[in-house]
């Protein structure tokens, strides 16, 4: 097919149905906005998860009066474990100061004797170390001579994990819903737009056009619509993000310790070209039933 003719025919369609096109593009871009928004939420959620994952830690309480040499040896042993990223020593005084600093109930506890706070080694664990390995390690470390007790914060860890997975589940369900919505909107928009032009398709077929010839400009138009809608959605999301960022940083980020981030560039590119692709496919598929003239 002559490319010039193809473009000409696509432009003819665009000119004739400009209003319809604007409506279709706007409704598609709302759908894409939903997808992009869900992606943004997931991006930030996983940044949060990573941040929290990084902060997995373990406290090894040292026996009262453990020898400095023993402690140093213990430290070397712990540092050699693959799961351990960093080891920090906390004396009883340090621990007491830290406790008082964090506790809101300051008044009476200031009088607590240092003995209540045993010295400890604070371990930062490697990202993504799974809980069962942490347990096993804790059991082994507890056998060592200078060790009084091992705290794995397993309870806290579990709670965090389940909160995160609930968040991920919700975001996933939302993304699924949105994807359904996008498919429905794109399918309907294109199917209905094509239905409006039944007469045109009939004439083409009766004049001897092949299916590919009939599809050509519709697919070009669909591609353009999908592309424009996705690009518009990304733009709107970006400016919305810029506008809301201050708000977000103030409330959410202050709580979670991370700053809101926008979508990765590769995601943006994937969204826009995915939009163009879905538009093209939607056009081609929804034409099928009108080609049997």
């Amino acid at each position: 097919m002559e490319l010039k003719t193809l473009i000409g025919r696509a432009k003819r369609g665009l000119r004739e149905e400009l209003r319809l096109y604007l409506v279709a593009i706007s409704s598609l871009s709302v759908a894409f906005l939903c997808v992009a928004g869900a992606l943004l939420a997931l991006t930030n959620l996983s940044a949060l998860a990573e941040r929290w994952g990084e902060s997995a830690r373990m406290t090894v309480y040292l026996r009262d009066g453990a020898q400095a040499a023993d402690v140093a040896q213990l430290r070397v042993v712990l540092e050699s474990l693959p799961e351990v990223r960093a080891v920090e020593e906390l004396t009883a005084e340090d621990a007491r100061a830290l406790f008082l600093q964090h506790a809101e109930v300051s008044a009476d506890l200031a009088a607590l004797p240092p003995e209540v706070f045993p010295p400890s080694l604070e371990l930062s664990l490697a990202t993504g170390t799974d809980p069962s390995r942490i347990d096993a390690m804790a059991a082994r470390v507890a056998q060592l001579r200078a060790v009084e007790d091992v705290e794995t914060y397993r309870g806290w860890f579990d709670r965090l994990e389940s909160l995160l997975s609930a968040g991920r589940g919700l975001a996933g369900a939302l993304a699924l819903l949105v994807a359904l919505c996008v498919l429905a909107v794109i399918g309907n928009t294109i199917r209905l737009a094509v239905a409006r032009r039944r007469d045109e398709i009939e004439v083409l077929k009766l004049c001897g056009a092949t299916d590919a010839f009939v599809r050509g400009p519709f697919v070009v138009e669909g591609t353009f619509q999908g592309f424009a809608a996705a690009a518009l959605a990304v733009l709107v999301l970006f400016f919305g993000f810029l506008a809301l960022r201050g708000e977000l940083d103030a409330s959410l980020a202050a709580l979670t310790g991370i700053r809101a981030a926008f979508l990765q560039p590769w995601m943006l590119v994937a969204l826009i070209f995915g939009g163009a692709f879905i538009g093209a496919m939607g056009s081609a598929l929804s034409l099928r039933r009108y080609l049997t003239v």
Binding site: M1, E2, K4, T5, G8, R9, R12, E16, D199, E200, E202, V203, L204, K205, L206, C207, G208, A209, T210, D211, F213, T292, V293
Partner: protein
């Protein structure tokens, strides 16, 4: 005949060059109906046992009362419908057995004027005619030249830029005629192409088809207009109640019609006397 501005006649590619059967001779009939039946309703066939041979380069009128099956006859040729029994051969090939991917190539050899025009109302006149050439992948320069010529021949020179919606009934019909002839097809199927035209223009269009016929094109011209049929001495195929009654030499020699006298409009001359 219509030619490009460079004088080159661009014919749509010959029909089924590869698939044509071995007995293809230059004067093999272009269109053959063999005992064709078409049922739209179980109890009452629209066509019952139609046998016809249309030779290459013939000009035939197809006539008959409303609902006789004229349009159906033509629609079977361009595969809008398929026969329920019997066979239709176009250039030797059984039309009913074409794969659906081959149908476009069948239609490119036909120039069809539809009874309801089938022009796209929101396109311009030019676009409605040009589409037939665009389908053939003709270069735009050539398309422009040939569309302009076709529009001139149907009396619509200079109307190319108008929206088809705003045209009068007769003008729309002439757009449909222009689209049918612009590709220089091997066979023209014109379904009532003058129903919305005044007698003058009807004769003009008939003459146009005859000019095209003179270059070797086969023409099937379905019409009710006995005054038009009476003016010319072409073969007449009269349909009634799904059966065919035909005259080889036009209305003038039709049984019951006096020589060179236009037919009476009582129509008895065209009625099938016995089933």
């Amino acid at each position: 005949m219509a030619r490009g501005s460079d004088g080159k006649v661009v014919r749509p590619f010959a029909f089924f060059r590869a698939g044509a059967q071995q007995d293809s001779r230059a004067n093999r009939p272009i269109l053959v109906f063999e005992d064709v039946y078409k049922y739209f309703r179980k109890d009452q066939p629209t066509l019952r046992g139609v046998n016809l041979v249309i030779e290459r380069g013939e000009f035939c009128f197809v006539t008959g009362p409303s609902g006789a099956g004229k349009s159906t006859l033509l629609q079977l040729v361009y595969r809008k419908h398929t026969v329920d029994a019997g066979r239709i051969r176009f250039a030797g090939r059984d039309v009913a057995r074409l794969k659906s991917s081959s149908i476009p190539f069948l239609r490119r050899n036909l120039g069809i004027v539809f009874q309801d025009f089938k022009v796209v109302k929101h396109w311009t006149v030019y676009e409605n005619v040009a589409v037939a050439l665009e389908i053939l992948d003709m270069p735009p320069r050539l398309v422009r030249a040939r569309v302009a010529e076709a529009l001139e021949r149907v009396g619509l020179a200079g109307r190319g830029g108008d929206r088809t919606e705003g045209l009068s009934g007769g003008e729309q019909q002439r757009v449909a005629v222009a689209r049918a002839i612009v590709t220089e097809p091997a066979l023209i199927l014109a379904d009532e192409p003058t129903g919305n035209l005044d007698p003058h223009l009807a004769i003009d269009i008939l003459t146009l088809f005859e000019e095209i016929h003179a270059t070797g094109t086969t023409v099937l011209f379905a019409t009710h207009d006995h005054s038009l049929i009476g003016k010319r001495d072409h073969r007449i195929i009269a349909l009634d109640d799904g059966r065919v009654l035909e005259a080889r030499t036009g209305l003038r020699s039709w049984p019951g019609a006096g020589e060179s006298k236009p037919p009476t409009h009582e129509g008895s001359g065209l009625r099938v006397v016995a089933g």
